[in-house]
Amino acid sequence: MEHLKSQRGARRRILSLAVAATALLPLLGTAQDGRFIVMASTTSTEQSGLFGHLLPAFRQASGIEVRVVAVGTGQALDMARRGDADVVFVHDTAAEEKFVADGYATQRRNVMYNDFVLIGPKADPAGIQGSDIAAALKKLAPTGQPFVSRGDKSGTHAAELRLWKSAGVDLGTARPAGYKECGCGMGPALNMAAATGAYLLADRGTWLNFKNRGDLAILVEGDKSLFNQYGVMVVNPARHPHVKAALAQQFADWVVSPAGQQAIAGYRIGGEALFFPNAGR
């Protein structure tokens, strides 16, 4: 009788110890809790895999950990406006300039560029393959072929809207029959396009890293208006005093420095470079 009782008691004690130990761990924070900054960036940049290549290099050079929260450009800028991030790294120059004008950052600097590509089914039922994006979109609109738009205030979405405008298609009054807004990131949009055989605008970085291509392929590329510029901004400590401005500035300075620029140029998938450094130009 007694021995069974103590067995049960011992088991219970072990269990509660295990539970307590497990419970407390996340509250202790991560191992390297020393110097870190929070960077608001975009899903397309993260999903291209660039950060996995770039940030360890920065960490080694400076000892600073960069924690990336990847959301759409609009959301990233909102986060920074609220003071929930220390540095912003997005690709929507117009929105970034407004951000600076509103006083949330003191300056914006070019870091790198890549390009957008128009993706669609290999068979290309709308027959738009070529190198002129405006002409392609103009041709696509009346065919009723499915087109997936991110619809999420991202840099890619902003670019997509500009291109429709340049093609003379008014999405408000003359929305193409197959136009679908998913309100989602680049990856889910690509998934949707692959599943429904749709056209869409994507950044080359995410495309190159994407695995669920189905029978999608690049149909339009090389047009100058498909140019996609990335910029970096440090959140203004005058607006949000708690921001780790000094550390964030170190990052911003590094990424436009020769070391950072070289790291960017060195990132390749299958031998192909995804991003082209252009700081100071």
Partner: protein, 258 residues
């Protein structure tokens, strides 16, 4: 998760009749390989998932059990309304909880100065909020049926509502364990809340569900599914262990099947 890069997965793949079937079988194979190879990133992610959801359940249990017990044992004005609210909150979407906690913890929010946004602590808080209604509702049900059975006799022994509730909680401890396991399942399976308040930061706040979401959005569906199977396997193992403890701890087998 850069698993594809450094895992040399050579899984024999029979030509399946249907692409979905082949994705499923490939994923099962990948899951088994992942578990066997013990990749460090994977186990760190699994450990974080368990810690976050486990802590959230314990924290939520503190509030949830007290709330559920109070609703069962006491009579007070507005009780019906509170129970209705509780049952409605069972349908609270995890992403909404995430959003509310985000606004709370954001620098512009009331608790912003704590600086815990985008940390595991924030995730624990969000998941606790998510499971409190579930734990409270289930505890209430459990206690109501226990009170129906023995409330009268406890009262005749001189127990007040609070004492009766406490005694019956001890009496129904196996049932409570099941309640906690249910809440744990809900917490570890959700992605909306932890994504928003955690930010899915690699190595810091990336858990199993947000990894699955990430791999899906990168188009690597087989890996995403495989991670899903790994998560199920881990949770299944925990349930089995607890079931074993329950069965051996309880002397009467009938009572152990809680």
């Amino acid at each position: 998760m850069r698993l594809r890069a450094h895992l040399d997965l050579d899984i024999p793949c029979r030509r399946a009749r249907h692409p979905t079937v082949s994705v499923l079988s490939e994923s099962l194979g990948t899951a088994a390989a992942l578990l066997a190879q013990g990749d460090r990133t994977l186990w760190h992610t699994v450990a974080l998932s368990l810690q976050v959801s486990g802590s959230a359940c314990l924290l939520g249990a503190g509030f949830g059990i007290a709330l559920g017990a109070a609703l069962a044992a006491y009579r007070f004005a507005g009780q019906r309304a509170l129970v209705l609210l509780l049952n409605t909150l069972l349908a609270l979407p995890s992403v909404v909880v995430g959003l509310m906690v985000y606004l709370l913890l954001s620098r512009q929010g009331p608790l912003g100065s704590l600086g815990i946004l985008f940390t595991p602590t924030a995730m624990v808080i969000a998941q606790s909020v998510l499971v409190v209604p579930l734990i409270a509702a289930l505890t209430r049900r459990l206690l109501l049926s226990a009170l129906a059975e023995g409330g009268d006799q406890l009262r005749s022994l001189g127990a007040g509502p609070g004492q009766a509730a406490l005694l019956l909680l001890v009496h129904e401890r196996f049932g409570l364990l099941t309640v906690l396991l249910t809440a744990f399942g809900r917490a570890i399976a959700e992605v909306g809340a932890v994504m928003i308040v955690g930010g899915n930061i690699d190595g810091v706040t990336r858990v199993m569900t947000t990894s699955i979401a990430l791999e899906t959005s990168k188009g690597d569906l087989p890996l995403a599914l495989a991670l899903g199977f790994v998560l199920l396997a881990v949770v299944g193992l925990i349930n089995a262990l607890i079931g074993l403890l329950q069965w051996r701890g309880a002397r009467a087998p009938a009572e152990a099947m809680a």
